[in-house]
Amino acid sequence: MKKALIALAISAVSIASASAQDLTISFTNLTHGSHFTPLLFGAHSADQHLFQIATSASDNLQAMAEGGSISALVDDLTALNADVISSPPPGGATAPGQTVSFDLTTQALNTHLSMTAMVLPSNDGFVGLDALAIPTSAGTYTYYLNAYDAGTEANDEVFAGMEGGAPGAPGFPADPLKKQGANATGVTTTENNGTVHIHRGVIGDTDAMGGASDIDSRIHRWLNPVARLVIEVK
């Protein structure tokens, strides 16, 4: 009996991974005051990841999380023969409440889906999805995504302009809402968890010309989830 079950299981795997799939993906920014940098989606095999909880970020993930640059992650995915969508929506960033939709055709072996995009403003916060097994039955599936901290930069919450987007450079690079402050002294200078983890949220303050943070606590905070992902399997 056990043997039969194993045989069934193997057969299910081979059936599930044997065919290409046509997907329509809709991604919604659920936050009230945070933008997302250009979105990166990749369908890949089961054992591949853009990031993993409790694991150090790759240099290329760091470039995305600190500055929104996804070109190196696109190269990574392409090298893995993944099916890639790197989709800057009109205007470049996904605004609060905005939905971006696109079609994705996956190759037979690319059974899992990952995504990343930096949260602005934040030091190294990103919205992510790590290797979701793509449903194989036709239907519409809804997922809610959380915000992660790449663990690569201290969350000082100091507005640093575009220089702040370079990997390893302190500060955050931009707030598309243009509600960032100035002259902050910095919330912290250390990052005590050097692995990818759930973001604890930004602190912010209400002093636009000083205080510890250049993030506005009334505008830029978030509660999880920060994004909704709807996958339509055809």
Binding site: A133, T140, R218, R221, R228
Partner: protein
């Protein structure tokens, strides 16, 4: 093999989050569809304004993420009055509570319809110690419930996008402030419905805020229990 287990796990999640199959629905077509609904306020100290509930067809919604709030939604989200939401479909089966649902308390009611196309439920109420925050469910599908079956929903908290979350004295209708409810002026930084970012409060270094640590909340805010009768 691990791959297979992952697929099973995901499949299990989907069965929980999408509706179960409707093949076993033993209701004759001519019968009345009845639902018992219980709303529990799970927050620490955010009273829920008298919640409103309605059965309706698939295409109707109280709100849509990313779209501007209707005037009726704005009145509910800023002032706690959901009457105008119910007036959008006045002939539909509906319920309006007579009092706020306090933290740790609940309200229970039933809704009935004989129209098999009206098996979608929406519920809304304001967290009244906020500027324009509300919670509820938006057009959840009930037609696949079999008689006696119960489904539990945990709700997110939304921001109507119609009033800046200033938290200033005089801008909140709840007991933490006793200030203004609905105001047609719109001054939010994001003018569409999104999820709510939470309140900051004076205890979190926003000294001008009329709110305190007790008014903070996190998701989820309501538990809604629906049983098909």
């Amino acid at each position: 093999m691990q791959n297979f287990i992952q697929k099973i796990a995901i499949c299990g999640v989907m069965i929980l989050s999408i509706s179960a199959c409707s093949d076993n629905n033993d209701s004759p077509a001519s019968e009345t569809y009845g639902f018992s609904v219980q709303i529990i306020n799970m927050t620490h100290a955010q009273p829920l304004s008298p919640p409103v509930a309605m059965l309706h067809t698939k295409s109707f919604k109280f709100w849509s993420i990313g779209e501007a709030a209707s005037l009726a939604l704005e009145k509910m989200a800023e002032g706690g009055n959901g009457s105008d939401l119910l007036a959008l479909q006045p002939a539909n089966p509906q319920f309006e509570a007579t009092a706020a649902v306090l933290p740790g308390m609940d309200v229970e009611f039933t809704l009935q319809t004989a129209d098999a196309t009206q098996l979608y439920l929406s519920i809304a109420g304001m967290l009244i110690n906020t500027n324009d925050g509300f919670s509820g469910v938006n057009s959840i599908e009930l037609g696949s419930l079999t008689k006696g079956q119960t489904r539990v929903y945990h709700t997110y908290t939304y921001d109507a996008g119609t009033e800046f979350n200033s938290e200033l004295p005089g801008t909140l209708p709840g007991p933490a402030d006793g200030g203004e409810g609905f105001n047609p002026e719109q001054d939010d930084v994001t003018s569409v419905v999104t999820l709510h970012s939470g309140v900051v409060s004076a205890d979190d270094n926003f000294n001008e805020s009329t709110l305190g640590a007790a008014d903070k909340f996190d998701n989820p805010t309501l538990r809604i229990i629906v049983t098909a009768l």
